[in-house]
């Protein structure tokens, strides 16, 4: 297999346990090169453990992980940039010194020039000589992001990169990630922001209780669930909808309501019934959103779905 055809990450039947708890259970996954791969799942489902195994920080109990075709166990990970969920920066160091230190550890390219470039791109140039402890949370997070990408890694792993960021900085980081992907970098990131995952990811992987429950493009995942979702706007809100036959679940977003209908329910007949009980200003038959799919799997009634 030639170098470019090799997937960025191959996880084969990996299991990782902590004592009696199985964090990751017989997981297999392939991340193609150049893809943006979103890891989603409830807290404690095994996302971070999986990311740490890719990073070679944790070793699987069974199975294997290959990055760019190599088994990393015991070796360095200079081709990977990793940003953990909880940020880790030496608070007493100055921004530039810290970035040059982290970049230097990877040792790819001209770190000094890269640091200057990234500080400019993320509008942190004037903070270059400040100590980390003087930065705001958002700035620290941007510094952590730069530390992850400054050595020009071929694979970037970001654990919850948008947590705690305001909308402006979220946009800055989002654009930076997309820029990296456009340059050919493979990006894996975990997130609880489903809309972000929908917008940014070529592939989405969901892990629940240590097992893979979703893996594919957004479209293919939605196809699995069919067009069982109706998005509508009503004059009287969601309350009158809940008792109608054929409606399994109602999600009220305020201005918009989303209905999940039974498999044998005809949307045309349902529209007729809806018109009888409320004023309909908008009616759209659609596929379920990622958020809806997530809730179906990981919500209170998730067991039935995931076991099916």
């Amino acid at each position: 297999m030639n170098e470019t055809a090799t997937p960025a990450v191959e996880i084969e039947r990996v299991t990782k346990t902590y004592g009696t708890t199985t964090a990751v259970d017989d997981l297999s996954l392939v991340v193609p090169r150049g893809a943006a791969y979103g890891f989603i799942g409830p807290n404690g489902s095994g996302k971070t453990t999986t990311l740490r195994m890719i990073m070679n920080i944790l070793y699987p109990d069974r199975g294997g992980v290959r990055v760019f075709g190599d088994t990393l166990r015991g070796s360095s990970t200079d081709r990977i940039g990793y940003m953990p969920e909880e940020r880790g920066l030496y608070r007493k160091m100055r921004v530039r010194d810290l970035l040059e230190f982290y970049g230097g550890l990877k040792g790819n390219g001209d770190v000094v020039a890269n640091v200057t470039d990234w500080l400019d791109r993320l509008e942190l140039a004037e903070w270059a000589d400040k100590k980390i402890e003087t930065l705001s949370k958002g700035m620290s997070q941007k510094v952590q992001f730069i530390a992850t990408v400054v050595a020009r890694p071929e694979l970037v792993i970001l654990d919850e990169p948008f947590t705690g960021l305001d909308p402006v900085n979220t946009e800055v980081i989002r654009n930076a990630i997309l820029g990296l992907q456009a340059e050919g970098t493979t990006v894996i990131f975990s997130t609880h922001d489903m809309s972000m995952a929908e917008k940014m990811c070529d592939f989405i992987f969901m892990i629940f209780r240590g097992r893979k429950v979703l893996d594919g493009t957004l479209s293919s995942i939605q196809d699995e669930y069919g067009s069982d979702t109706i998005r509508l706007r009503t004059g009287e809100g969601a309350e009158r909808l809940r008792t109608l036959p054929g409606i399994e679940h109602v999600t009220d977003f305020g201005q918009v309501q989303e209905l999940r209908i039974a498999r044998d329910c005809d949307p045309q007949q349902l529209l007729g019934r809806l018109v009888g009980v409320t004023t309909i200003t908008s009616f759209e038959i659609t596929r379920p959103s990622l958020h809806d799919i997530f809730v179906r799997i990981a919500g209170p009634s998730a067991t039935e779905v995931t076991d099916a």
Binding site: M55, S76, P84, G88, L89
Partner: protein, 436 residues
């Protein structure tokens, strides 16, 4: 630059560029020197307080001699040649022994407590021939702090001189015929005689002093202790902090745990070398300037440096391993004692080892790798020295132990850094060490 050295350089800079390091560099010798100066000041400060000693002479034989000795002392020893008072007067208050002994002692003790008397000395009735009379042949000294009391030491001589004089008289010898009968000659401590390798002449033995025998060997040990404290001890807190602030996880994304820890240890060694260079160069220049250059044990310097590097690596690995098992500063605080205990144990035995450097205890302890750096250095610094093989065996032990500590520490470090929640028990830490 290799990753390990990058980590080492960061550790080094992070410490030596701080105000705390510079402050410690300056303050440590000042504090230690200050202690010595304090001792010197206290030593030169003489007690010129007048003291009254009550004497109950149940033998009826020595009270007058004590009074005479006190008078002689007061006449000749209160002032030095320049007229400065260097001692207080001793006044002897001879009391008639009362039938109610306990009441008399209580009364006099209260007088001591009230400040009217300094102490009470009670001469037993059988002191002239004490061997077969039990408690009747003893002398008791009652005071607020009798264990450390110059007057107690002083009074012993006139009492015993008089008793000896009386014993000679009983034996029919006139003490005046042998005026030097009680002269006491203390042997002068001299180093062994040796032949000069260049001239072939047999050299005169040099006088050995307490300074040379005790103080000089201890100085490099204390400097080494400081270096261990500066280069190795901070690892425990620093690693815990890195773990708590998730820096460790970021680092592990770039460097494997073992070189990461090794880099920290190398940084620690660099810090110790820097500080020791400052102290050694500064110390040597100062001592040479003061004209005491002959006392500098230059032959110990290589051993000092080797012991220091090995000790910082050994204790640094221990600190880093324990630090990685802690979740926060409080847990790290609790681990501080076990981490520095191997460093402190040699300090507890410094005096017995320096006074008997060739004893089995001193030799045995100095060959225990954890204690070797401090105790072998101490023994090597004594005038007696050690057998040539001992430092080499000790060094081999240290190096093997340092490698084992670094290896095991690295395994604990790797697992411990990512562990969260309840602090691990000793069994868990040992399991990490075995399984990695």
């Amino acid at each position: 630059m290799p990753k390990l050295l990058r980590v080492a350089l960061r550790e080094y800079k992070a410490t030596v560029k701080t105000k705390g390091f510079l402050l410690a560099l300056v303050l440590a010798p000042i504090l230690m020197g200050g202690g010595a100066i304090g001792m010197a000041i206290f030593e030169s400060r003489v007690d010129t307080t007048d003291k009254v000693l009550a004497v109950i002479d149940r033998s009826g034989r020595v009270a007058d001699a004590i009074v005479a000795a006190a008078d002689a002392r007061n006449a000749s020893m209160l002032y030095d040649d320049e007229g400065r008072q260097v001692a207080g007067t001793y006044t002897i208050d001879v009391r008639t022994p009362a039938a109610a002994r306990d009441e008399q002692l209580l009364r006099l003790s209260n007088a001591v407590r009230g400040g009217e008397l300094h102490a009470v000395v009670e001469i037993g009735p059988g002191v002239l021939h004490p061997r077969d009379v039990g408690s009747a042949g003893t002398i008791a000294y009652y005071a607020e702090n009798p264990a450390v009391d110059d007057l107690r030491s002083w009074v012993a001589r006139p009492v015993n001189d008089e008793l000896r004089r009386l014993r000679l008289l009983e034996a029919g010898v006139d003490p005046a015929d042998v005026p030097d009968a009680f002269d006491w000659i203390t042997p002068a401590g001299l180093r062994l005689v040796s032949r000069d390798p260049e001239t072939g002449a047999i050299g005169g033995a040099e006088r050995s002093t307490e300074l040379e025998a005790i103080l000089l060997p201890i100085i490099p040990v204390m400097v080494l202790l400081m270096m261990i404290m500066m280069g190795a001890s901070p690892h425990l807190q620093a690693v815990t902090e890195e773990k708590q602030q998730r820096i460790a996880e970021v680092m592990l994304g770039s460097i494997e745990p073992f070189p990461f820890m090794l880099g920290k240890l190398v940084g620690g060694v660099g810090i110790a070398l820097t500080a020791s260079a400052v102290y050694l160069v500064g110390g040597i220049l100062t001592v040479e300037y003061m004209g005491w250059g002959a006392f500098i044990p230059y032959s110990l310097l290589p051993w000092f440096l080797v012991y220091m590097v090995a000790a910082v690596a050994m204790f640094g690995a221990l600190g880093a391993a324990l630090g990685s098992a802690c979740n926060d500063a409080t847990e790290a605080q609790n681990m501080t004692l076990p981490s520095i205990l191997p460093v402190m144990i040699p300090i507890f035995v410094l005096i017995p080892v320096v006074t008997e450097p060739s004893s089995a205890l001193a030799t045995g302890l100095s060959l225990v790798p954890l204690f070797t750096p401090l105790l072998m250095l101490l023994r090597q610094g004594t005038p007696e020295g050690v057998a040539a093989w001992q430092p080499w065996v000790g060094l081999a032990g240290i190096l093997v132990t340092a490698v084992i500590f670094v290896w095991i520490g690295g395994r604990i470090f790797r697992v411990g850094l990512l562990s969260q929640g309840t602090p691990p028990k000793l069994g868990t830490i040992l399991r990490w060490a075995v399984r990695g």
